[in-house]
Structures are given as C-alpha cells and as structure tokens.
Symmetry: C2
Subunit: 204 residues, 2 copies
DNA sequence: GGATACTTGAAACGCGCGTTTCAAGTATGG
DNA sequence: CCATACTTGAAACGCGCGTTTCAAGTATCC
C-alpha cells in the first residue's frame, strides 16, 4: 500500500526513555517532561506505546534486557568458588556506569511491593532468577538442594545489601572493604564445609 | 482566652496516618483517600499539619520513632558476638508485625534517592545510624576502626538484603535457613580472626 | 503522481490533586 | 455567659495529569 511502520523510531524512543528513567526515576514519571527530554510530544509517545502504563512496562522490560546482557557477559563458569562468583558480580555491578540501572530496579521492586497488581510477580521473579543463576553457579557438592538455595539466598542478600548501601551513600572505600571482609568469610565457610574435621552445624 | 490547642488530636491523626501509610505506601499518597480512611477531611489534615509535604515529613519522623523504640527494646549488650547481635536483630525485625514498617523505610530510601532535596541526607543517615549501633555492639578487639566499620557494613548489608527478600517473596523458610547459614559464617569468621594460627588475609 | 497508511502537532477534555476561601460549629477562659 | 480562639465542613480554584480529537504532514507502493 503505502508505508511500513517505523520500528526503529520506536526502539530509539524506548532506549532514550530508559536512559531518562534511569536518571529521573520511574515513580514521578509523566509524559510531558519525558516527551520534552526526548524532543517529541506526549501524543507521539502514546501513538508508539499505546498508553503510559504500556510504556512503563516496556521500559522495565528493556531495562531487564540490559541487565541480562550484563549478566550474560559475566560468563560465570560452573566451578568457580562462591567468593569468586560474588567478586565478579560485585565488580561488574558496582561500576558507576551500571549503578543507575541497578537503582532503577530497586525502585521497581518497591513499586511492585506497593502495587503488586500492576507488576504481577515482579518481586518474586527478581529473587528467583538470581537464585537460579547462583544456585547453578556455585553449588558445593556436599549441599542438598535446599542448602544450595539457602546459600544462594545469602549471596543475593549480601549482594543487594552492598548495592543498596553503595547507591545510597556512595562510600565506595568502606563498602569495597566490607565486600572483601565478606568474601573472606565466604571462603572460610566453604573451607569449613569441605574440610571434614570441624564441627559444622548450620541449623538452628 | 478561650481554648487550648488539641495536641492529642494531632498525635492521633499522625499515628493513624503512619498506620495507613504502612498499609498503602507513601509513594501514591494523596490527601482525600487518607482523610477518608482517617474519617476526617483533607481540610483538617492541612489544618493540623500545614501542608502535605509537612505531613509526610512528620509521618516519616514518627515511623523512625517507632523504629528506634524497637531498637531500644533490643537491649544489645556490648559484648555479644556479632552472630548473636545479628540473630536478635533478625528475630526482632522479621516479625510479620514489624515488616510493614520496614517496608515503609525501604520505600522512603528509594524516594530519598530519587529526590534527595526532599529528604536531605536521609539515605546516608539510614546507613550511618545502623553503622554506629553495630560498630559499638559487636567490635572485635583485634579490629581497627576501619575494620570495625567494614565489618558492621557487612552486617547491615546482609540484614537489609534478607529483609528485602523476605518482604518481596515472603519465603520465610528459605530465608530463615539462609540466615542460619550466614550466622554460621559469621561465627567462623570471628573464630578465624581470633585464632592466631591461620593465614587470614582479607585484602584484595 | 496520486492514493494509502504511517507519523506528528495543537488543542482540548475530564479528572484528581494540593490548597484556599468562607463560614459554621464548639469548647473554654474571664 | 459570651467573647475568643480552636476546629471542622463544603465548595471552589488552579494545575498537571493521561488521553482524545482533529487535522496536517510525509513516505511509499501501484
């Protein structure tokens, strides 16, 4: 007939929107300022994305895609010790260039907690995906599956806790030092779990 | 003259507002629904609190007061091992009755990150207060001050990470198990730090 | 080159927001 | 008891929001 839909324009707008949201947050997002920053109009955003809610969904989806790209680049081989996996994770994600994306996801976690209906299953998936990745990545042979999940839960909790602190305070010196203390603890724990001599009971 | 200001009414409204915000979140808070839930009018909220922003500030302040009351009840003596301090903290705060307040503060952290001007220094203080408490509570004699801060940073990160997970997934069984694994790691670390025999290097 | 469908702009609509205005209601000090 | 100041209610204001309407602009296929 006459003309093919301009998919590239949509992708360009979406990418710019993700950048904007990383800088300005998702909570107070409104179309008019966003449109102005993207040098377009609210009308156009709605034309390309249908509604604001749909746009938000796509922004989050695109953000997750960036996150997963980063994770894929980690190339974590299956037999690294947990401390190595955690160190690589930390090195990668504490990069100032990646912090805004991380901050965005903490924001989305919160929004999802406040309005689970708008982001169904988001919070649960956010943990479950990392669990899956870390369970597979750093399992100790002696661990049962539940132990492995518990251990992975520790890794995730510490990682996210350090991230929160870094995002909030920016006190990189203190936190980097804390991460090293923590990684040494991890090595100690693995040592204790694999050496048969010690009394090692992790249950209450 | 004629009548004394009703301070009790204000306090009552504020307490009810904190409860409301714990249940409904602070992000989308607006006066009309809040007033309806409190069986009063927007007009009255503004009369008692001046403006919505002032009200929000007072809600957060009151929430912090509740938080500190809980902390004061912990009665952490100075010579408990870190794992005991952490266990008590976790037991106290993972109580379902206290989770909403914790969730509220994670929400405020995020708001403060998005708009530092509205909540000046909030995020930094949130970490610094816990740091101070934990530094004093579970210092090891062999630690320098920087080491103590780093160690306390680990405790806070893990605590907050576990909290985030619990609030998001509610998977108490998995997380309680993870906490036990983590506490055992803490004990191991303290053991390693105090026994002179082992090679113990926590720097990169 | 003109019909066709994609793309964009300007302006307005209805809505809920925080806030203000104005007036009535109410308890208390003199 | 009544003047005074505290308290509350009803209604409206202006504003920014997401969205819609209507029309113009633009690239492409026949």
């Amino acid at each position: 007939m006459s003309r093919t839909p301009d998919e590239a324009r949509r992708a360009e707008l979406l990418d710019a929107a993700v950048d904007y949201v990383c800088r300005h947050g998702l909570t107070g997002l409104s179309l008019r300022p966003l449109a102005k920053a993207l040098e377009t109009s609210p009308r156009n955003l709605l034309y390309h994305f249908g509604s604001k809610d749909d746009l938000v969904v796509e922004i989050i989806r695109r953000g997750r895609a960036r996150q997963q790209t980063t994770m894929a680049n980690l190339k974590l081989s299956g037999d690294l010790p947990p401390s190595q996996v955690s160190r690589i994770l930390w090195r990668q994600w504490s990069d100032p260039k990646r912090l805004p994306l991380m901050r965005l996801f903490f924001e989305v976690y919160n929004l999802a907690l406040a309005e689970p209906a708008r982001f169904p299953g988001f919070s649960e998936r956010a943990v479950e995906e990392w669990l899956g990745a870390l369970e597979g990545c750093s399992t100790l042979p002696s661990y049962s599956r539940a132990d492995a999940r518990a251990f992975a839960t520790v890794l995730i909790a510490a990682f996210r806790g350090f991230m929160l602190d870094l995002i909030a305070t920016g006190d990189r010196a203190r936190i980097d030092r804390a991460v090293e203390v923590y990684l040494a603890m991890l090595d100690n724990a693995v040592l204790a779990a694999t050496s048969p001599g010690e009394d090692h009971d992790a249950t209450a």
